[in-house]
Amino acid sequence: MSTVEEVQVHAGVEELFDQRTWLQRAANLARKQPLGVFGGIVVVVMVFMAIFAPWLTPYNPEANSFEHMLVPPGLDFLLGTDQFGRDLLTRIIYGARTALFVGTVAAGVGAFGGLVLGVGSAYFGGKIDLIFQRIMDVFMAFPLIIMALAVVAIFGTGIQNVIFAITIPFIPRCARVVRSNALAIREIPYVDAARAMGFSHTRIILRHMAPNVMAPFLIMLTAFVGQAILIEASLSYLGLGVQEPTPAWGLMLQGGAEEYVESAPWVAVFPGLAITLAVFGFNLFGDAVRDTLDPRLRSQ
């Protein structure tokens, strides 16, 4: 698990006066953050693959073909085929859809839930805050894999339950970081002013406080996408996640990988490479977002 440093936010004024063209800015960014730009490219390529999957490959990702079982990489099948005769490259391209879907939904819902709970906890304070923190502690300490196993055992396997299982542990992690930022914002007079004007608690939390903790929220959000993709792959690998015949990278490594590691190593190597590249890209991208949004870390 990667720990996300607690962040304090200061608004950068210099961006407001930035008059350079986007090309100059892109070149500047590439020089300042080569790793971040690389991450951004990986993210863009992945989104492209997910959207245009049917036009990128002539094969069907789910149809078995017994004439083409375990064909090594070659001209017909660039990355070879699996034990059911399905083209690996096709399944990797379609797998980007599964990964992105699970990653963005789980990260989005988890981070948003954490935002609301974290800000709410800081806003109400006192006993409510204390009880909330204890509940968060329980969920933080609870092993993720047990949560996932239980969710799958209760609701069955499938993509929406995988998302559910991944989202739950994200909420307290985001809530904790957001809360520590929101505690500082609560002391700023405009919150008192809003309360004096008679705004409801919901309105103050969502419209007045939440927008001011956007930086830590976005940092957590981008960090979560990569983590969610990785957890989904692990759960699918264990047989607890996405089920056949849906193309998912972790699932492609389940069963086949160990069995064919000697005779057909491409089955074991390429899907893992896809997971690694995707998570690597999202992590680099997330780091760049953090460096940009948190000037305190920028100089490092």
């Binding site: 204890r134 329980v138 300490a141 047990i146 692990s234 160990e258 074991a268």
Partner: protein
């Protein structure tokens, strides 16, 4: 400090009770029970009376509140009961696997420290050079590589290299041997999963070492040390690194807690019989007593490690005083 310690210990209790409620409820929400699974298995016909008897014997026929109170009192009196699946005492089943999981956790932590501290230091000293970028990519790759895939690659690599060098493919042994009886066999089996997980967990520690060291290198006392004309090596090792170690210790401690309960996937790849495998088995078998005890054990390790790390932190850095 004294008051703080007491307060933290007391705050553990609600967390533990919360975890107990959570695992208890989750398990009861899963359809079916251990008796159905054990006797009927996959659709075979079985006498209803036998199932009822089994339910009474295992205690799952009692009302939930009775079961919950029994579970809680068991926790506080250290009586965890017997596994509903095997009939063996829970502590016995856990003890069998605990050694293996603990050994891997320790070895992986050693690997992680051996990778992260030198790399993080180099990366900080050579900040924003190509060396820094290579080290940072290496460490971010560690977070990005799924541990099961790294495991598969290690096995693949072992097969290929042993085939090429010795003419015969070699695989790590599958059966666990105690390190005191057969240290070579023990290491030959466990070093690979330890490498796979250690590399993964070194990533966070490397980044932490780098950023902590960068911060410390800007301190006045480092400038003073430089002005005194000390060797750069001495400045880094004796002045900077010592002070940068604090957050790194925290990260490594928390990782250790995760390693104890989170190795399900790695154990699967390397075919090891550790706590992670027991976890999966006990949930699939609906073995309430076993799952509950395991979850409580992992949660306890997690919060105690967090607590010890916090205390250690204050002890290492006299500026930190909890109130």
């Amino acid at each position: 400090m004294y008051k703080y310690t007491i307060k933290r210990v007391l705050l553990m209790i609600p967390t533990l009770i919360g975890a107990a409620i959570l695992v208890f409820t989750l398990l009861r929400l899963i359809p079916g029970d251990v008796c159905m699974l054990r006797l009927a298995g996959e659709g075979a016909f079985v006498d209803q009376a036998a199932i009822d008897l089994c339910r009474i014997n295992t205690g799952i026929a009692d009302p939930f509140i009775v079961q919950f109170i029994r579970f809680l009192t068991g926790l506080f009196t250290f009586d965890f009961g017997t596994s509903m699946w095997t009939g063996q005492p829970v502590t016995h089943e856990i003890a069998l696997r605990f050694k293996l999981s603990l050994e891997i956790a320790i070895m992986a932590t050693v690997v992680s420290v051996a990778i992260s501290i030198p790399l993080g230091t180099i990366s900080a000293i050579k900040q924003n050079t190509w060396i820094d970028y290579v080290v940072r990519s290496f460490s971010i790759a560690g977070i990005a590589i799924p541990s099961f895939w790294l495991g598969i690659l290690i096995i693949l690599g072992l097969l290929i290299t042993t085939q090429a060098w010795f003419g015969q493919a070699w695989m790590p042994p599958i059966n666990y041997v105690s390190p005191f009886e057969d240290p070579v066999g023990n290491i030959a089996q466990l070093i690979w999963p330890a490498l796979a997980t250690g590399y993964r967990y070194s990533a966070v520690a490397t980044r932490m070492t780098r950023s902590a060291l960068l911060e410390v290198l800007r301190e006045d006392y480092v400038r003073t040390a430089r002005a005194k004309g000390l060797l750069e090596k001495v400045i880094i090792n004796r002045h900077a690194l010592k002070n940068a170690m604090l957050p790194v210790v925290t990260v490594i401690g928390i990782e250790f807690a995760f390693l104890m309960g989170g190795l399900v996937v790695t154990e699967q790849v390397f075919n090891l019989n550790g706590l992670g495998k027991l976890f999966v088995e006990s949930v699939t078998n609906q073995d309430y007593t076993m799952t509950q005890s395991l979850v409580m054990l992992v949660v306890l390790i997690f919060i105690v490690t967090n607590f010890v790390v916090d205390l250690f932190y204050a002890w290492l850095d006299p500026r930190i005083r909890y109130s």
